[in-house]
């Protein structure tokens, strides 16, 4: 809830403690923000002095309060951000938005499905699952990207897989001869894993088309639409429900989302230009 007198538009200057290059156009910032708490699925508005602000999911480990953001250099603000280094300062507003319902998945199977830079928003969930593994049944992370060079967190993926074989199963849209993993689309991976649809919670994040096909594959397997959760993306200028840009018919993606339960958006998801 709001504190009286706090200006919700005002960014807080925070230093970049570390920069990691993930792929050709994706990088990760570790920000120096001790005691910054958040829940998996939430995002911050990151402000670059004089340039602008973008909404970026928080991709660190919430229980260790590590504030990390994995950013793809794809627009004017994020391209400018790609040239920042350790010691530089950015503005932070947040955290905002709804969280992945990790508690709901406890006691059952958990299926995480990520496409491209849809993995960063799910990474906090993976951290929680690995930390409290006994609370879950079977767990899978199905992760796909354009090509092997576009997979993020490569080293970490290998570490996760040592602890948990289904975390992740990767695929790429296309690859050269050197790639020994799967080639194909992420939704096709759904049919390769064995889970109990009646006790499975699915969390999906990636391009909307990929999410649509994945949802279809899950519904075909018998997962109920109330147990499927998506992370939606819309234009955001304020993140505080005031600017009107992120509306998805009745939902403000900054406030009711970005994590939305599929049965609540089923009537909108297949519609054009909505």
């Amino acid at each position: 809830m709001a504190m009286l007198g706090v200006d919700p538009w005002r960014p807080r200057p925070v230093r970049i403690a570390r920069v990691r290059r993930e792929t050709q156009d994706v990088f990760t910032w570790e920000l120096d923000a001790p005691r910054f708490t958040y829940e998996p699925g939430q995002f911050n508005m990151l402000y670059l002095f004089g340039v602008g602000e973008v909404a970026i999911s928080i991709s660190g480990d919430p229980e260790r309060e590590r504030l990390e953001h994995t950013i793809r250099a794809v627009g004017s603000v994020t391209r400018a951000m790609a040239s920042l280094a350790r010691g530089d300062t950015v503005g932070v507003r947040g955290p905002y938005g709804s969280a992945w319902p990790v508690h709901e998945a406890e006691g059952g199977d958990l299926l995480l499905v990520a496409g491209g830079v849809g993995l960063p928003p799910l990474r906090p969930v993976v951290h929680q699952v690995l930390r409290h593994r006994e609370r879950f049944g079977r767990v899978f992370l199905l992760y796909g990207a354009r090509s092997p060079g576009d997979l993020v967190y490569r080293r970490e993926l290998e570490q996760w897989q040592k602890r948990e074989p289904g975390l992740p199963r990767c695929t790429v849209d296309h690859a050269g001869a050197g790639w020994r993993g799967r080639v194909g689309v992420v939704p096709a991976l759904v049919d390769e894993v064995s889970f109990d649809p009646a006790r499975t919670v699915a969390m999906i994040c990636g391009p909307e088309v990929m999410m649509r096909f994945t949802v279809r594959a899950l519904l075909a397997r018998g997962v109920a639409s109330e147990r499927i959760h998506l992370s939606m993306e819309r234009n955001m200028k304020c993140a505080i429900g005031l600017c009107g840009h992120c509306q998805y018919v009745p939902y403000f993606v900054c406030r009711d989302g970005p994590v939305l339960r599929f049965d609540r958006v089923a009537g909108l998801f297949d519609r054009r230009e909505i």
Binding site: D25, G75, H174, V183, V209
Partner: protein, 152 residues
């Protein structure tokens, strides 16, 4: 010596065929193993083997001059490889290279085609499964073509 009939009955692709029907197919099939790097199919060659994968992973590849071999899709356990052996002109249009060691049921194409013609019910049952498989792949290929992860 493995019980080929049992292997056929256990394979997902043939689920729903009667015991009689799978018995007929035994005459056409061998259980084969392939090492990493071997090819099940080669582009341009006559397509006369139809595979049902049991174990391992196969990459469907096309060699592009200047780019080298490009992997289009992976196939794994329960997938069919070599549908072109049942579709004229029976020529392979891509390579199928073993990425993870493979164990597969390999059907002689001519034998299989003969059995399908001799028994229309069996022919229909197998054709229906091929169609479903081809349709599923078509959907995947279309999604791949959208290049959903492409940058702006």
């Amino acid at each position: 010596m493995e019980d080929l009939h049992r292997l056929l009955e256990d394979h997902d692709f043939l689920k729903g065929l009667s015991a009689e029907q799978t018995r007929v197919l035994v005459a056409c099939v061998e259980n084969r193993r392939y090492r990493r790097g071997e090819f099940l199919l080669r582009e341009g060659q006559a397509a006369d083997v139809f595979y049902l994968l049991r174990v391992g992973r196969v990459a469907l590849e096309i060699d592009v001059p200047g780019r080298g071999p490009v992997q289009m899709e992976s196939l794994g356990p329960n997938d069919a490889v070599g549908i072109s052996s049942l579709v004229p002109p029976h020529r392979e249009h891509l390579d199928a290279r073993v990425v993870e060691p493979v164990v597969a049921l390999a059907f002689d194409g001519a034998c299989l085609r003969g059995k399908m013609q001799a028994d229309p019910a069996l022919g229909y049952a197998l054709t229906a499964r091929m169609l479903a498989e081809a349709y599923k792949r078509l959907e995947r290929v279309r999604l791949q073509r959208l290049d959903v992860y492409a940058g702006a």
